[in-house]
Each structure stands twice: as structure tokens, then as C-alpha cells.
Amino acid sequence: MRIRWTVVSTLVAAAAVVWAASIQGQAPAPAAAGQAPAAPRAAAPARPAAAAGARTDDGRPNLNGVWQAINSANWDIEAHHADAGPHNNIMGAWGAEPPGMGIVEGGTIPYKPDALKKKQDNFKNRMMVKVSNDPHRFDTGDTELQCYRPGVPRANYMPFPFQIFQNKEQILMVYEYKGAMRTVFMDKHQDAPVDSWMGWSNGRWEGDTLVIDVTGFNGHQWLDRAGNFFSDTAHVVERWTPRGRDHMMYEATIEDPTVYTRPWKISFPVYRRLETNAQLLEFNCVPFVEEMMYTPLGLYNPPNRSSR
């Protein structure tokens, strides 16, 4: 919690600077297609080397770099006011939930009636941890609480940076949260060979927009801590559109006939982390959740001899 909040508060300041620069029109326009990328190898680069060129050598927008969304969608993707967090008796303002205007276009997620009830139950049970050997082990609280992979699109608006690595054939996205990763296949598209947490990503360029088709979800994903969710029939189409060298618009259309009455959309900007030493660090959260998950089973602390 402490780490996340530090990152968020630092970012808010950074965001203000980026935002101000962009609305003043200072972000340089993308260079012409085909321009060779600048590749400074100076000992102390003024900006991250991989971010130097506005275009890659095959003429695409250069998305290489460390990025982060600045919003409170991870608490609730719909509009919400601030609230006390769980265990505010000890967590106080650290654990409180920040307010937000929401990222859902039109404001409301078009749930089917049963699904809306499940969303509400999810919220009530969001801190439920049920570790077991049976197939219902995922019928539990928020996956983030237990350090499970966040899925897509949630990974893109968690309060952690992520890094995009780009070459012509594939794009690799690595998220600081849990070190979760996904490969976006640009050249060889195929159906998801197996269901997964992060889904299967096939990408293509539409002009300067990176369009990624994500399928093959395992159905355990939550979209936020408020219990919003989709099922294993979800289909997510992401659109990443650069609006300058240091920010881009992110849009995702979410379709899931099991859960929603129609496809719906989220959108928010994503900002480049401009610190010259910007770097994803490890947030390997498995050791942070072991005590919470395994103490109720009596498996965290070794039994002492008198309990034998």
C-alpha cells in the first residue's frame, strides 16, 4: 500500500507537467514515416534512449518506453466518490479509496440483471480469500488482493508503470504489478491456443493506431476492486493512439454476451514516464500475500511441538 501510494502521488505531479505540456502544444509532432530513429548512447541520456525516435525504423509510431495511466479506475472503473477503505480502523487515510470520474464511456456498464447482482455480490465479498484445492477456488474476492494476474484491460490502468518493447514482428508489454507480461503478435495471428489470465493478443496497425484483439480469457478476471467483471466469453479490442511523443489515448471495447447487454467502451490517456532513470522495478507480490492466504489454513506458521 505504501509503495503504491508513493508511486501514485509522484505520478500525479509528473502527470500535471506532462498534461500541461501537451495542452500547450509542446509535444512534437510525429516525424515522417521512414525516418531513422535517433539512438543516443550517451552515458547520461537526456531521455530514455528507446524513447528517442518518434517513429520506429519501419515507420510505425515508436511506443517503446515506460508508461502509466493516472486515474483511480483500479478502485472502480465507474464514477465514484472517495470512501473509507477496508480496515480503516488501522489503515486510516492510507487505505482510503480515491474518488474518480470513471473511465466508462456513457457512465454505466450495461450489465444483464443477473450479472449486475453478481457485481454487487463481488463488491461485498471483495476481500474474501478462499484458498482451496477445488475448482471453486477462484470464486472469491478481488484477484488483485491475492496477487493474481490482472488481465487486460485492467493491467493498463493499475497504479503501476508498464513498459512497451516493440519490434516489427512482436510487441512485448511488461507490467510492474507482479511482473505480468503479454506478447502481442503482429505478424502471426492465431486463435488463443489456451485460456489464460492475460488473454491472447493479436495486434495490427490501423494508421498510427495500434489495435489489439484480446481473447482467450479464463473468466476469473475482475476489472477493479469494486467487483466489475467479465467472463470467459469476453472479447476486448484495444486501441492505442499516440497523441504526441509522450502520451497516447487508450480505448478498449469490451464485448461479452454472457455478462453485458451490448459492447461498451472505456478510454483514458496513458503517459510516458519521463524520468531519465525510469525503470520497472520488481513488484513480486507473492511473498506479500502468503501470510494472508495461508494463515487461515494453518499453513503459514509452523506448528509448535506442543500442538502435536
Binding site: P37, A39, P40, R41, A44, P45, P48, A49, A50, G53, T56, D57, D58, N64, V131, S132, N133, R137, C147, Y148, R149, F165, Q166, N167, K168, Q170, L172, V174, G179, A180, M181, T183, F185, P193, V194, S196, W197, M198, H220, T276, N277, Q279, L280, L281, E282, N284, V286, P287, E290, E291, Y294, L297, G298, L299, Y300, N301, P302, P303, R305, R308
Partner: protein, 380 residues
């Protein structure tokens, strides 16, 4: 093979069965569209695999001149999936003395022996036949090796002597384990792989083979793929095992501040001709586990990656830890390139009921009084 080593610690039948169940579940979850098309013969037929491995080995060792392809931005192209499994031991068997190399024929014979013993199933001791799940190293593209050990320095192919401090540390850990089995609770359970904290061998990548030899997490035949994703200014290595990710900047930036300590340290790379040199420091204190071979947070590792053939990467590394070994030691080996060039999701912690079962089984034995000390169970 790590599966087997993991099995060795788990002496009760209950936990055996359950660890097996975990392994199979993980694999089923990872195996793409199994059963649709015929498997390649090299994953089903030991003889075919041995012949293919020997042919690849000969072809690549006979290669006299090789020009490393370049990426479109001008770096030596190391992209692809490289296989980290090996049958070569980390340390040279003592009986080989100073014999550093096999002849070609000996190397192939050694490989054949290792692959055949790997493929063998003893129904009295093994509940699952790993090769059915393509978990044997010979099924993944592992090749014969002229070297008799991975270690090339010291000259005898053996780890240097431990420092007095490391000897004391080891003795204290062994004494504590006699008092209480570390597997009785996750708080004391030092095995990072079983806890899904780290996968097998992200740093260094190749650790030495043969069942029962050297480290517990020695050469895995399963999930031994390292995906090298190269982009301007970065080499990123994604491991199949646990999907561990190593992001290596190659733009000469300084290391992270020394206060930043990480499981996989902090890596910085630079190019020396065709070789990518990667230096890793800033490792954490992983208690109750240890780093590679019992090393401490003062370990540092320098790796050198050189593509020496279309399908061969030379991989050298030097390990230093003044708190553990009396001098640094070095490895020189190769990794074959394998297809396809992708990595599947490895969601380990998300379904880690194997850990629950291992600890539960250990606690049951403890309460029954049959196994209060590791490996010292009363006769059944």
C-alpha cells in the same frame, strides 16, 4: 528434472501424488491445443531425439565461419527462444580429474546415456512418467556437450571452497532444519519455486544437469525456454518458468541505487563486439531461501551472450560472492535455439494448491510423530 528433485524432498505418498497433480495441471494449462496434430518424433522417440541432438551438435560445432545477423537498428540479433536445459553437470565428476573435454564420440555417448536414463521410468518409485508431458530434457532440444562440466574456472571444474562464513551459515541452517522441518510452514519454507516466487533459473540461465546432481533446481527439462525479446536499447528475457522477466537496458545507464534490492537483482548490459555483456547486482536477502547455490545478497553475476551459430548461443557467466566462495568462478556453455519463438502464460501462484498439499502433508506427518525431522520418518 526439477520435478524429480522436488519429489525427492517429499517423502510421503500423499504429497507425492499431490505435487504430481500440480505439475500436470500446470502443464495441461500451458500445452497448446494438444492432440490436434502428431507430435514431432524427437519428443516421443528417444533414439530419434538422440540422433537429432547429435546431428545438430555436430553441425554447429563444425561451423567454421558464421556472420551474426544484425537487427534493423544495427545490433547483433539474439532474438528467439533459447533452451536452458542441459545434461552437463555444473561440477565435473571428481573421477574425471582435469579432463575438461570429451571427444565428439564420448560427448554423444554421454548424452545418449543421460537421455536414456532420463526417459526411463521405474514404476516402483515414480508415480508419473514425465516424458508423457514432454518434461524430459531430451524432448526440448538439449544437445551433447564437449565439456565435462559447465564450470571452466577453477580449472578442476569444481566450485571454489566455501568461505568460513559460508561454512558456518550452512552448518547453522542444517542444525535449524534438524530442530524443525522448514516445510512445516510457509513462513519457513525456503523453496522459492514451490512457493511460485521465482521460476527455475532466470539468472543464471544454465545451471547444470543430471538428476540428483548439484543444486535442487538443476537443469529443468520442462519450462527451460528463455525468450529473448530485443528492441532498441533493451534486451528483455522472459522465462517460460514462472514467466520471470529480466529487463536489461543496454544504454549505459547507471545501476539502480544500492537501496533497491530485488529477487533478480538489477541488470545492465552493453555490447562488446558481437557479445552482449550483462552485469547484475543489487540482489535482495531472500530469507528463508538463499540465492543460487546458497549465495547471499552480495552475489553479483556477469553474463556474456554470443551467437555463434544460427541455432547456438554461447553463454558464459562469472559468479562472485565474497561471503560465500573464496574466489569467483565461471561457466562456459551453449544454449540451442528452439521453436516456436513464443512463451505461454505460466500462472503458478494462481493455482498453487501443490504448496498447500506439501505443507499439509508435512504437518500431518509431524503430528503423527512419524516425520518430525526432515527425512527421518519412523518406519511405516
Amino acid at each position: 528434472m526439477h520435478m524429480r528433485n522436488r519429489m525427492l524432498w517429499v517423502t510421503t505418498a500423499i504429497t507425492l501424488a499431490m505435487v504430481g497433480a500440480l505439475s500436470i495441471t500446470v502443464l495441461v494449462a500451458q500445452t497448446p491445443a494438444a492432440g490436434k496434430k502428431a507430435l514431432p518424433k524427437t519428443t516421443t522417440d528417444t533414439d530419434a531425439a538422440i540422433k537429432a541432438a547429435a546431428d545438430a551438435f555436430k553441425k554447429e560445432t563444425e561451423l567454421k565461419t558464421y556472420t551474426v545477423p544484425k537487427t534493423s537498428w544495427g545490433e547483433p540479433d539474439l532474438r528467439g527462444v533459447w533452451n536452458t536445459a542441459t545434461y552437463t553437470r555444473l561440477q565435473r565428476p571428481v573421477e574425471l580429474g582435469n579432463k575438461a573435454f570429451y571427444t565428439e564420440e564420448e560427448a554423444i555417448a554421454e548424452y545418449k546415456k543421460a537421455a536414456e536414463s532420463d526417459a526411463e521410468v521405474d514404476p516402483r518409485t515414480v508415480h508419473y512418467d514425465w516424458k508423457e508431458y514432454a518434461m524430459d530434457a531430451w524432448q526440448g532440444g538439449t544437445r551433447p556437450n564437449l565439456r565435462t562440466s559447465l564450470i571452466v574456472d577453477p580449472e578442476n571444474g569444481r566450485l571454489p571452497p566455501l568461505t568460513p562464513e559460508a561454512q558456518q551459515r550452512r552448518a547453522a541452517a542444517a542444525a535449524a532444519a534438524k530442530q524443525q522441518d522448514p516445510m512445516l510452514g510457509i513462513k519457513t519454507f525456503g523453496n522459492l519455486y514451490t512457493r511460485c516466487v521465482l521460476g527455475l533459473g532466470a539468472l543464471p540461465l544454465v545451471r547444470g544437469g543430471m538428476p540428483g546432481a548439484d543444486s535442487a533446481a538443476a537443469a529443468a527439462g520442462v519450462t527451460a525456454e528463455a525468450f529473448f525479446f530485443q528492441s532498441p536499447g533493451y534486451m528483455t528475457i522472459v522465462m517460460q518458468s514462472n514467466n520471470d522477466v529480466r529487463i536489461i537496458p543496454t544504454d549505459n545507464r547507471p545501476h539502480a541505487p544500492s537501496q533497491v534490492r530485488q529477487w533478480l537483482g538489477d541488470s545492465r548490459g552493453h555490447w562488446e563486439g558481437n557479445t552482449l555483456v550483462v552485469e547484475s547486482t543489487n540482489f535482495n536477502d531472500p530469507k528463508p531461501a538463499t540465492h543460487f547455490l546458497g549465495a547471499t545478497d552480495s552475489i553479483s553475476i556477469v553474463e556474456r551472450f554470443t551467437r555463434v551459430g544460427p541455432n547456438t548461443m554461447r553463454y558464459q557467466y562469472t559468479v562472485s560472492d565474497p561471503k560465500t566462495w573464496t574466489k569467483p568462478w565461471s561457466v562456459d556453455t551453449t544454449m540451442p535455439r528452439v521453436d516456436p519463438s513464443m512463451i505461454y502464460e505460466f500462472a503458478c501462484h494462481e493455482q498453487n494448491y501443490g504448496l498447500i498439499n506439501v505443507v499439509t502433508g508435512t504437518q500431518i506427518r509431524f503430528r503423527e510423530g512419524t516425520r518430525d525431522l526432515r527425512g527421518n520418518g519412523a518406519p511405516e
